[in-house]
Symmetry: C2
Subunit: 563 residues, 2 copies
């Protein structure tokens, strides 16, 4: 740090704070409207990048994000570390055996999802080379467009699946396996493209060498390195500070294998992903270690990376709508066609085909990196580069909502969705059971639109059958009503405590009134068991009882429960 | 990341992997010989830096750590982030109220620990300006040497206290408060020195401005920002992903306030420290959030920083032994004199005075940064710079062992110290209580040098009085023996289970033979209660019972217990 000037320190730290801060704010905001946070993070990059901030106040933008200045290299490096650590974490979550189990269908889907868009890209480059660059480079353009349109963005897909909580499902593993093999093939093809550009022709020997190196690397990491991890991790866990030693081991391995992957001609992130898979496969890696790495990477490093994508270019200047439309159209058509064709071979149903199509369209960072290299080698022009970047962003942004729409998985119950300010009584006045139910029914009446008396008698009727005091200072009075079509929950906190005839004799300080539709038998049981689960935790119980506002109440639940 | 070349990616990632990997390996190794890990981390930097690797193979060293190349700026930036996040974490742990409680004595210690070394430094610079640079700069040299010798390294002290687990003790807070105020005063003095260099004279108005800004910043962060955090943190916890939103908030605040601190003329790390104190003071920050930030920072970021100190210069070339000796001597003499003088005013005992002296000698990174700035301004020459750096390293390395020696806190019992391979029976053959005690006694005989029969009968005698089967599949047979002067523990795992007449009727799968000196009444009880504590945890119990090697056994204990 001694070589940094004071001004570099000021600007470097401030720009990191602005990038990370805006990315997290928009990421969380998008999360709340049920979109994956990475879209918000990219969007933050667009706002603070050349597209908006650079347009409004170019001097300030150049001062804060001095592209070209040497301090900016470290922002780039942090973004690179962001994607590398993201892929490392994604790799940790991959269940290798379930990937291998799906062997055949994964291969078919992967091959199709490369082959069809690749062919379409080749055709596009062959027919309209001048859209991308000089017609003299037709062969290189053809290969580039083919690769750019067929490559799938592993980090984006991994993050989308994590954001949608689909990562560890069978379907998540299927998409991820497809993306992984697609990536592997894509980078092999890309290395060949680079060689073609250099030498002007396809050289079989070098192609064979590239393929050989990639396969050898993958095998070495997944077999040899995995074996070493399996043997050494218990030793590291036993003989170093816990969990620090293991955390450092995971990160150092990821960095080292990334560097090695880049050195032998693949992209660095591929090495990190492989390292993650190899380490994640050992049962010796503890949940706590995973969680610390995961939370820090997903909340600090990966937002930096996704914001940096949005900051990469000015999304308005030099915008070529026709080219962009063509490229986006071809990618989407190609990926969906591939998913359909492969799906009919594998005999999977329509919903899965559509989902795989949606999951594989995201080209994200891969497309951008590829485009950048092609631009540097003079294969494509700036218009084409921008179209590729926009295509990458558009497909990334489309992928998650499409995936969500087609999958629309059975929504699991989240009690936080049921608790709102209107159904929250901060300080109950009632001191008897009867008055308490009356007080809750009054509040429920406002929420449901039903008469308070109606609720009161139904709940009291149930209460007479058997007490709903559960012990541990909690009571769950409840009723099923034909008039409502969704569950309603009213929460009351009583400081004095209300006697609900609990088995442990303790008065209830937390009272939950649960109203569910008569038609849905399971709903009531689900809510009851979910509430019991949450409030069996003593910490949650104590903190919620003492919550002095609705926000504190929710915060206390959230500390232990994510739904 | 788009602007990084392939070679920059390879070298950047590899050098990070090497720095972090070597720092963690040596840090853990030093930890095992009971020295703070930061010394190992600095030592790693010396090995891979210009002192060793650069000497053995300069081409390779320059390739791997291309100082001067733009990619190296990002290594510097990561080291800066390392120290900033370290101070942020240290700040989180500071208990503001206990600092304020110590108000008066802290002020006296701080003033003395600045004033005495500062005066000695002024004298040194006045008498021998040519040791440091040109005699023409006498005034600037005097001020610089005074400041460099009096400034205390907050990050180093924070890390030493964390490593020695003294951080949250009253004494830890006292030292930290002294270092904090020392730092505050030190940076004010340093800003004045810079002004003197620029203008050639002391300008009262600018001095007043610097002092005013520093105090205003501290007050703004500790009052206004702290209030904001207190109000908003529950909202953030309730409305963002947990714990991700809070983690990002903490880091972004730290980055932003660091940048601000640097911008108004203090050093960035001071802003991070203040941010940490302000955030750590709210009771709304949860333990889990703290832990994730703490573990990641202490194991990934801070090793990068400490290794980078060791890599800063060649510790052999241009080594000026006389100057170094003088500087080191003056610092140590000055700090100890200050601690003695202030201690006698405060009427604290000798042990505490010596400990405060030891704790405050570490000049660490502050000294280096100061030296570097002075070198850049041409106040001091390279010899003097190197002596300052060596002084910083030497005092840092000395500080922890001295502190440990003088404090020598009552060693709390750590059962991991009692468990070793020689006293571990992987798979007990015995199936009766008698045979089990015989088998354990045989093993204990080898460890203690006592006759097996002697141990057997003493333990059996005790067992006859009252069963030592504790339930939960655990038994603690034990005896006190006059022949031994320290406790011995033998651990046996029985797959078949041995009936120890436990209250729950379950056979013992884990049997601990505890032998303690007859003279020490408490020892046995301490070990028993510590073992119960550890093995009351069901996870530890299950995992240790199923451990298939000594290493797995230790790892399972360590996952939940740190001693």
């Amino acid at each position: 740090m001694g070589t940094l000037t004071g001004n570099e320190i000021i600007v470097g730290l401030l720009s990191l704070a602005v990038i990370l801060g805006s990315a997290k704010i928009l990421g969380e905001a998008f999360n709340r409207i049920k979109l994956p946070s990475l879209i918000g993070e990219i969007f933050a990059g667009i706002l603070i990048g050349p597209t908006l901030l650079g347009r409004i106040n170019p001097e300030f933008a150049q001062w804060l994000f001095p592209t070209g200045a040497r301090i900016y290299v470290s922002i780039d490096m942090l973004a690179l570390l962001g994607v590398i650590l993201l892929l490392l974490v994604a790799g940790l979550e991959v269940d290798l055996s379930s990937v291998l189990k799906q062997g055949r269908s994964v291969m078919i889907f992967s091959l199709f999802s490369i082959a069809i868009p690749f062919s379409l890209g080749i055709l596009l480059g062959y027919l309209f080379p001048e859209l991308f660059g000089s017609a003299d480079n037709r062969l290189a353009i053809m290969l580039f467009v083919g690769t750019a349109l067929s490559i799938t963005a592993l980090p984006v897909i991994a993050k989308i699946l994590m954001d949608l909580k689909l990562f560890q499902s069978d379907f998540g593993m299927l998409i991820l396996s497809i993306a992984m093999i697609n990536d592997l093939l894509g980078w092999i093809v890309f290395s060949v493209v680079i060689q073609v550009i250099h030498t002007g022709a396809v050289q079989p020997l070098m192609v064979a060498q590239t393929i050989g190196l990639t396969l050898a690397f993958s095998a070495a990491v997944l077999v040899v390195f995995r074996g070493i991890v399996h043997q050494t991790l218990p030793w590291i866990q036993a003989h170093t500070s816990y969990p620090g030693g293991v955390i450092a081991f995971v990160v150092v391995s990821g960095l080292f294998l990334s560097s090695l992957a880049e050195a032998i001609g693949m992209h660095a992130i591929f090495g990190a992903f492989m390292a993650g898979i190899a380490i994640g496969d050992t049962p010796h890696l503890r949940e706590k270690t995973r969680e610390i790495i995961d939370k820090f990477v997903n909340n600090i490093f990966s937002p930096l990376f996704f914001a940096s994508i949005g900051m990469r270019i000015d999304f308005i200047r030099n915008f070529n709508p026709l080219l962009t439309l063509i490229i986006v159209g071809v990618v989407i058509a190609g990926k969906f066609a591939a998913a359909f064709a492969a799906g009919s071979l594998n005999r999977v149903d329509m919903k899965i085909r559509m989902s795989i199509g949606s999951g594989t369209i995201a080209s994200g960072a891969m497309g951008i990196i590829l485009g950048l290299v092609a631009l540097q080698y003079g294969i494509i022009n700036e218009d084409a580069f921008e179209s590729i970047v926009i295509m990458a962003v558009v497909t990334t942004v489309l992928s998650a909502p499409l995936l969500k729409m087609f999958l629309k998985k059975e929504k699991t119950l989240n009690i936080l969705d049921l608790i709102d300010r209107r159904g929250f009584i901060q300080d109950m006045k009632a001191i008897t059971l009867r008055d308490a139910i009356r007080e809750l029914a009054d509040t429920a009446s406002v929420k449901t639109g039903l008469q308070s008396d109606r609720i009161f008698y139904k709940v009291l009727e149930r209460e007479m059958l058997m007490s709903t005091g559960m012990g541990f200072n909690i009571a769950f009075p409840h009723a099923r009503l034909p008039e409502i079509d969704k569950p309603h929950l009213v929460v009351g906190i009583s400081n004095t405590g209300i006697d609900f005839n609990a088995p442990d004799g303790l008065p209830a300080h937390l009272v939950f009134l649960i109203l569910t539709p008569l038609s849905d038998q399971n709903m009531q049981i689900q809510i009851l068991s979910e509430l019991s689960n949450v409030f069996l935790n003593e910490k949650v119980r104590t903190e919620t009882m003492n919550a002095d506002s609705f926000i504190h109440f929710i915060a206390a639940i959230k500390s232990q429960y994510t739904g």
